[in-house]
Symmetry: C2
Subunit: 229 residues, 2 copies
DNA sequence: GAGTGGTCTAGACCACGTT
DNA sequence: ACGTGGTCTAGACCACTCT
């Protein structure tokens, strides 16, 4: 008969969704709840903490716990490696390196990644195919000051992303989604028409305070990024 | 000198990011860690559990805890009410109702929301402005079978979203991002050119297994959705 | 000042999955 | 079978923050 934290969590969740505890209302405190459910306060605490993490309730010391008026609507997207993304759809993945060159970082890149003057960067352009059809165009810059070993890596067989995840255990990331237009170059790679709307992901990655890489991923027209919560 | 779960978490985090514990390697078990940090096992457990939630380590009973080879790259986006989104940028929010009508749900909507034949839906078109400039176009359908009370709500002063969040405490949501082109109608509302790329969010919401609403939010050209993690 | 959540402890038992 | 994480307990003290 002892309630687990999952029991408590789901029971309280249903009280909220069914309107028994209306938005903005005060929830009984942990000691009372522990008594009603016949469990330890720590158990209630865990349930409530998770509900707070999920954005359903708001907790403040002394003030107590309230049902959120507007539940936090946070969407979580998994950003898998392209390979996993494609193979996950049951399609055959193919990678191709378009170009690979060491360049002085252009101004816009230096500004974005906060790089010093005259920084060298490795500029890679790659294509990812699903069942032979163009799927994603990758335009990547790697900061050679931070990752000099990238200079001698062979990217002809597998993409820079796969190398990077094995090289950098964890990092700060800024990711941004937007809509763009296919220009002349993209139309060739993605086999679409000029002016087609394309979904674009830009990602900048830092490690120990220094920029590691910036990448712009452009998907073929019609791509959707979908999630549930 | 007793370590808190945050101490443990951040220390382990740094061990991972600094490469001391390399990707794929096995982490000491909870009892050993509790001994090294001089704290209770529950404290270590909480730290490790959060690291697992954050996608940095992978835990399996008996097999132990391993540093993830490819850290889960999940991005979390807050999807606030447009009002909050705009006011959060320090801009003045203005709402305007464009049209409001009861219609028989078109086929594409019935398919998407799994509605029966001849369902009635409330069709709302609204605009959201930031400092007087068009910010977001909202094209919304509300299932009147599930929410008949929507029929008599006045949406002329505040948007349907604000009414919905107060009416529905929690629900299942499918959200999807894509890139589209501004058509003739959108150009008028968003004051942009025909063929401009526009960022689009589509969201379908269910409550207790039944469809509640479908909305397509179209942002003015140039809009970005950005987050860090 | 006092009430609430936040956290820690030491110990216990359970559940799962590898062996 | 056994080792690991998963969870619960009963009690304690602390840290906010509202009044």
């Amino acid at each position: 008969m002892k309630a687990t934290y999952k029991d408590v969590k789901s029971d309280i969740l249903s009280k909220i969704t069914k309107g028994e505890w209306s938005p903005g209302s005060l929830v009984p405190n942990e000691v009372e709840l522990a008594a009603t459910y016949g469990c330890a306060r720590a158990t209630v605490n865990r349930a409530m903490r998770e509900l707070a993490d999920d954005g359903l309730v708001e907790r403040r010391r002394k003030a107590g716990t309230r049902v959120r008026t507007a539940p936090l609507r946070t969407a979580r997207f998994d950003i898998p490696l392209v390979r996993a993304e494609i193979e996950g759809k049951g399609a055959k993945y193919r990678y191709s390196l378009v170009s690979n060159s060491v360049e002085t970082a252009p101004d816009w890149l230096r500004a974005r990644l906060n790089l010093p003057d005259q920084s060298e960067a490795l500029h890679l352009v790659c294509m990812h195919y699903a069942d032979g059809d163009p799927y994603q165009h990758e335009d990547r810059w790697i900061n050679l000051t931070k990752l000099p070993q990238a200079r001698s890596v062979d990217f002809s067989e597998s993409g820079p992303n796969e190398w990077l995840v094995s090289e950098i255990p964890f990092s700060d990331v800024e990711i941004s989604f937007s809509a763009g237009l296919a220009d002349q170059i993209l139309t060739d790679y993605l086999t679409c028409a000029k002016g087609d709307p394309v979904f674009t992901i830009e990602r900048s990655t830092w490690w120990e305070g220094q920029a590691v890489t910036y990448v712009r991923l452009t998907y073929k027209p019609g791509h959707r990024l979908t999630t549930r919560y």
